[in-house]
Each structure stands twice: as C-alpha cells, then as structure tokens.
Amino acid sequence: MKVCSLALILATAAVSPLAAQHGVEGLANPYNTPEDIAAGGRLFRSHCGVCHGPKGEGGRAPSLMTGRFRHGSDDSSVYRTISEGIPGTEMPATFFNGQQLWQLVAFSRSLSEGKAAEQIDGDVDKGRMIFAGKGSCTNCHMAEGKGRRTAPDLSDIGKRSLADLESSILRPNEKVLPRHWVAKGLTKDGKTVQGMRLNEDTHSVQLIDQNERLVSLAKADLSSFEVIKTSTMPSYDGKFSKSELNDLMSYLASLRKN
C-alpha cells in the first residue's frame, strides 16, 4: 500500500463519524502532535476528569498514568474504549468525532510517557539486607514474599516517590493513610483485639491481628471500639547512616509488582 493511500485511510478514519465505531483496529494514532495532546487535554479535563481525575490520576474511575489499560492498551483499543464505553461499568460511550477521539488517545498516552525513573545513589542488594536485617522491617512488613503481614505489604511500594519513602522511614507519623490505621476493640468478655484495619462499616470491622489472623468483629459484640490514627512503626531517624538509608530506599524503590 502506498504511503499516500495509507495517509488517506488514516485521515478518513480520523474524521469520519463512523470511525467512532469501526475501522480503527490496529491503526496508530495519526493525531499525536503536542497541539493534539493539548487539545486532548482540554477535552479530557472537560469530559473525563470528573471520574478519572483532572490529571488522569484516578478517582471514581481508574488511574490512566500507568500506560496499561484493562480493555486494551494499543492506540486503537484505547480509541475504541473511549468511543464505545465499557459495558457493565460507568464508562459511557461518547460522541466525539474521530479527530477528538485520537486527541484523547494522545493525551491519555502522554500521561504515562516521558517519566524517567527517579534515581538514587544506593545499592538495592544492600538495601534488601538492611530490610531483613538491621532494620527488622520484615518483622512487620511483607516484601518479595518474605516477612509478616501485620503492617502494610510493601511489595509494590516502589511506585511511591523517594521523598515519600524517606518520610515514611524517618517520620512515620507524618502521614498515616486511613487504610493503615489500627482498629482496636474490647470484647464484652474483656479481650482486646487489635490490628491493621482492613475494612469497616456501620455494623462491623475487619482487621489482621498481630498473629496474622483475619478477624471480623460485630460492633454490637464490643464494649468499646476505637480507630488509632497514629503509626505503630518506630522512627528510623538517626538509626541508619546516609548510605544505609540510600540503600534501603533504593531497595524499596525497586519493589514493583509489574
């Protein structure tokens, strides 16, 4: 196929209303300039950000910053998803024309591109040893299939920023996420049950206790119940040398599930 023919087909697919439904499988995005990305961004903020977040970071709908999309990650799949929606979910079909759809694809794609991995001068292997040894982190945390489960699982912690990791190590109480709060209940027969809160609703609370047991408590069966919003993790400020801290952070930054 001659180049000019291909360009004509691409252009047709891009502007025809029918392109919203058919004929884009396998095609690369013909509207991928910085201007197209900017135009896609304007459409995104006006139409999509309510659910996906103004920066595509997620909210009611999934984050688009990973570059991986459950319903197909190639350009034509993303195009189809935006145009047709996802049945059975709150993702609706749209009535954008072909060019607008491609611009939205370009913007969605831009959210996960060009983000170079943060760098730190540390040794991952040494950090792994500190994690299991001097730091005693595995006494509470799980990573790479080793350790305990009474504190947050760190197997995917590498997606957080270095500054965030450092803060969590040195100043664990600076920011304790609600999903890491501790639930503590006193049963009517005087037994204290405490552990990381996994879920809570009007009538019950679910937690993992210090013995790694999953415990579900009916609030009606408790004589008292509280949620502890401070961290049970000790501060490591002053306990590591600068190079040890860098090694540990390098190790943590390397922890990704995929």
Partner: protein
C-alpha cells in the same frame, strides 16, 4: 399452538393482573395496600404502607424467601411494581420481566438492547409504569416502549429523544388521568429539559412543559445570553400527583454546565425547582426554586412528598422536601408558598434562607479555579433516594450524607452528546479506607413542624437507599455497604439487620403475595425478598 401450550397460556393469563386504571392507582394506597402500582407506591409518594403483618414485635423473625439474580452488572436503581401477586421489574439497562411475587419465578422477559448512548451515571433505569394491561418503560437510548403485561410482547415503540444529543430516559413514567408523564435525563450533556404527557394508547404527545423556558416563555429571562440552549433541567425521578388539585409535581435537575456559573448568569429557571403542573394541560401553576443559579450540581430531583396535616395550628396541604442542597423545606402545595426551611446537614454554600425561602448565598464557597471545599458534597446532603412520611409518628424520614467536595471551576466545552459540565469536583464518593474524614451517611427523622431532628441512625458509609415505613411501626432501609435493616419508626432503634453483600441503591417495597406480607429490595445485582418465618 398445541393444547398444552394453550392451557399454560390461559393459566398465565388468569394469574396475571386485572386492568390497572388511573382511578385504581389513585385509590391504591388505601384500597389495596397489598399492591404497588406506581413508582412511588402512591400518588402522594409517602413511601408508607398500611401493612402490619410484619411489625416492630416480630420483625426479628424475618427470613429470606427468594432471590432473583440479574444477568447485568449495572447498578440496580429500580423499584418494582406489584400487581395482584405479579412483580414487574427492569433488569438493567432495559430488559423487562414479570415474576411470581411469591417465589421469584419468571413468567416472561422482554429484552431491549439499547443503541449507542453516553449517560453520566450508569446505564440505569428506575422502573416502569402500568396502565390498564400495558407496561411502559423509557430506555436509555431514548425510546418509550409499551409492553403487554400478560405476555411481555412489544405493543409499540416510539422514539422520544435523541441519545446522540445527550438525552436518555431513566425515569419511571407516572400515570395520571390516562396519560403517561415523564421527562428526559441528560443534565450533564447540555440538553433542553422538558416534562411531557403521552397518550398510552399510541405514544402521541398530549402536552409539553419546557423545564428550560424557550424564548417568549416565562422564565426565559433568567438565562443570560443563549445559555438556555444548553441549560439542562433534566427529569430523572418520578413526580407526585394531587387528585384534588389536579396538579402533578416534579423536581427538576441541575442547570448545565454544572460547575461554571459564568456562562449562565441569572437564576436559571426552572433548574433545581419543583414545578406544579396542571395534569391535563401541562400549564405551570406555580414553581419554587431551591437553588437559583446553582454552582454545585444540586438537582432538585427528589421525590415530592405530599402530606395533609396540621401545620402551625392550621390544617394544610403540604409538600415536604429534603433537598440535595442541605435544606429541608415545607411548602404549601396549593400555591408553592414557603412555610419552613431548615438545614439538616452541614451547609457552607448558603448562610441561610430568607423569608421567601431563597438562599442567602455565601460566595466564598462557590467553585473556583484552585478548588473550593464546600458542604454538602457534589452528591448532595441527600439525593434521589425516596424519603418516607409516616402519619402515625408524624415524622419525615430522609437518607442523608454528611460530606464535602472540592469544587473546581473549569472551562466547559460543548460538544453534542458529550459531557458539558465545566469543572472537576473532587471527593465524589467517600471511602472509609482512603479519606482522612470520610464523612458518613445517616437516616434522619425530622419533625415537619420545626424541621428539627427527632432521631438519627448513623452509618459508617454514605447511603443511596430509599426509605419505606409501614403501619407496623417499622422503617426499612439499607446501605451502600450492603446491609439491609429495619428500624423502629418512633425511635430509630435498629430492630433487625442482615448483609446482602452489595450496595442498596433503590427503595425497598412491601406488599402482599399469596396473602402474606413480603419486603423486596434490590442489592448489588439481585433482588432479595423477605417474609416472616412460617
């Protein structure tokens, strides 16, 4: 047709309902509380049933009688109709089924596969209307379907609104004086809203009221420039009807774009209003606007609850209204006079209401480019969930949210059939594991005389469930967490609860089938029906 099939068809016809006339619907609340003939159960929409086989004393003996599982993952926002032991339901988005209300067994099903749509909040439907022996359903792709209640056969289908213009039909029509009354959803798509009356025989239009007044119509002057052309004013929850006044009352949705008021200066009538229309002509008799020039998406799409009772020493025809904007209102429904308005949740956007009920605006809490945290949240202090009024307790029950959102003002871009909202509010749904202060939901019992809280049942999460009270002194509801529970209607004490494992986003119904009182609620993707242990 062979003899056996003919016999089966005759048996089915015998089991299925007699004609449901407008007169029958009008008298149903008193004459046949065992049935549920219209979306809100009765024209006054009190969500109260004079049934007491299940009551405060024996409710702990409830047990599951049957479950019907939908073949759909969409949110179940539908309230069934119950007609003489037959239950009519909608499986999302637009399948209709007739079930044996005693067992959940399916008599028939009708499938409508919608064309392409762009709907804001799920491919949902809230229910059906029945007139004589025909069921009526609006579809999300803009059609009105007439379906034979005995066979599930399609009688006729009529195109009503353009799905590619952002219109969709999700509301259950209201049958009044042999007319079907309904409107269109699409307030996030810059539609031109309306309420319409249709001839049930053939789908012909009998009258139309524009919720966004066109040039020359009263109220048009409340829209700056040509903003009325994309003004919104959707209809997506069924209204009420007063036969004595021959007025039908409907709550109107938000103005478009939702969160940028710069492009639509003025009060933006009749968005966020209740309109009282002559049921025979569609003529506007009066209106009351709860949130003029709304900047927060405070649809007035709530169920208008009509109550005749004493108020401040005088017998009056009242309308009780817990509004999304955080205020509880009492209006005189003969003329729309504002009688009382009180906050039932934290409200920052208004300092209060003036003597006419108009909000005293606090501009510090309007959406801004950098984001403004304001109460109530974008889902409102309540929403479309049916409230209940109980004449025995004299209390008005309301599902409420105590929650905030950060409201951003953005630049709306109109593109036909696509979202036209003009902003990005943050904090749409609370999450107990993600939010520092997730807020909470509750059921409040309000005294209509004062607007003050008599009692409150707090929940860890917010709630999307409607309410139902009965002559058995119970109040029935559920939660987003999937708990289904019964409270004492006088005190709010929890009498019974069970977990159904999926969010409850519809109203419970109660009725009699096979002579026994049952309670049905949709949770997750299934219908659950409870009754007393034998």
């Amino acid at each position: 047709m062979n003899v056996i099939r003919l016999f089966a068809a005759l048996c089915l016809a015998a089991a299925l309902p007699a004609q449901v006339t407008s007169d029958r619907i009008q008298k149903a609340a008193d004459a046949e509380p065992e049935n549920w003939l219209t979306y809100n159960g009765s024209y006054d929409s009190q969500h109260f049933r004079q049934l007491k086989d299940i009551n405060r004393e024996n409710v702990s003996n409830l047990e599951l009688k049957w479950v019907w599982q939908a073949q759909s993952l969409e949110k179940f926002e539908m309230t069934p109709l119950i007609v003489d032991d037959v239950m009519y339901i909608v499986q999302m988005p637009n399948d209709v089924l007739a079930l044996d209300a005693k067992t959940g067994s399916v008599y028939w099903s009708y499938t409508h596969i919608p064309g392409k749509t762009n709907v804001c909040c799920g491919r949902v439907n809230r229910g059906l209307a029945i007139h004589e022996d025909t069921l009526y359903m609006g579809t999300i792709d803009g059609k009105l379907l007439a379906i034979d209640a005995k066979t599930g056969g399609l009688k006729w289908s009529k195109h009503m609104v353009d799905a590619d213009g952002g219109y969709s039909l999700t509301v259950a029509p209201l049958v009044v004086n042999d007319k079907l009354i309904f409107g269109s959803a699409g307030g996030e798509y810059g539609i031109q809203g309306f309420i319409v009356a249709i001839d049930p025989k053939n789908g012909d239009e009998l009258w139309r009221f524009n919720t966004i007044p066109r040039p020359g119509e009263p109220g048009h002057e409340t829209w700056g420039g040509d903003s009325w052309k994309r003004g919104g004013g959707s209809i997506w929850v069924t209204g009420s009807y007063d036969p004595e006044l021959n007025l039908t009352y409907w709550g109107v949705g938000n103005p478009s774009p939702d969160w940028n008021i710069d492009v639509r200066p003025g009060d933006n009538l009749y968005s966020d209003s209740v309109v009282a229309l002559n049921a025979d002509t569609g003529k506007l008799e009066w209106y009351f606007q709860f949130t003029p020039n709304d900047a927060w998406d405070f649809d007035a799409v709530q169920v208008p609850v009509l109550v005749d009772r004493e108020f401040k020493g005088k017998q009056r025809k009242l309308m009780l209204w817990g509004n999304r904007n955080g205020f509880f209102y009492v209006l005189d429904r003969t003329n729309g006079e504002f009688l009382l308005g009180e906050k039932f949740a934290k409200v920052t956007w208004a300092k209060g209401l003036d003597e006419k009920g108009r909000p005293i605006r606090n501009k510090d809490f309007e959406p801004s480019r950098e984001g403004t945290r304001s109460w109530p949240s974008v889902q409102g202090a309540t929403n479309w969930y049916a409230p209940s009024y109980n004449h025995k307790t004299g209390l008005f029950y309301l599902s409420t949210w105590e929650y905030s959102s950060v409201y951003h003002k953005g630049d709306p871009t109109y593109s036909r059939g696509n979202r036209y909202v003009g902003s990005l509010p943050r904090g749409v749904w609370p999450n107990v594991l993600e939010d520092e202060d997730p807020g909470h939901g509750s059921i409040q019992a309000l005294d209509p005389e004062t607007g003050q809280k008599e009692w409150e049942f707090k929940m860890a999460n917010v709630t999307e469930s409607g309410l139902l009270s009965t002559d058995g002194d119970i109040l029935i509801s559920g939660s987003k967490e999937g708990h289904f529970f019964v409270l004492d209607s006088f005190t709010g004490e929890q009498l019974w609860t069970t977990s159904l494992g999926g969010r409850i986003a519809a109203s419970p119904t109660t009725y009699k089938a096979g002579g026994k009182q049952l309670i049905t609620v949709a949770a997750g993707n299934s219908l659950f029906t409870f009754g007393l242990k034998e």
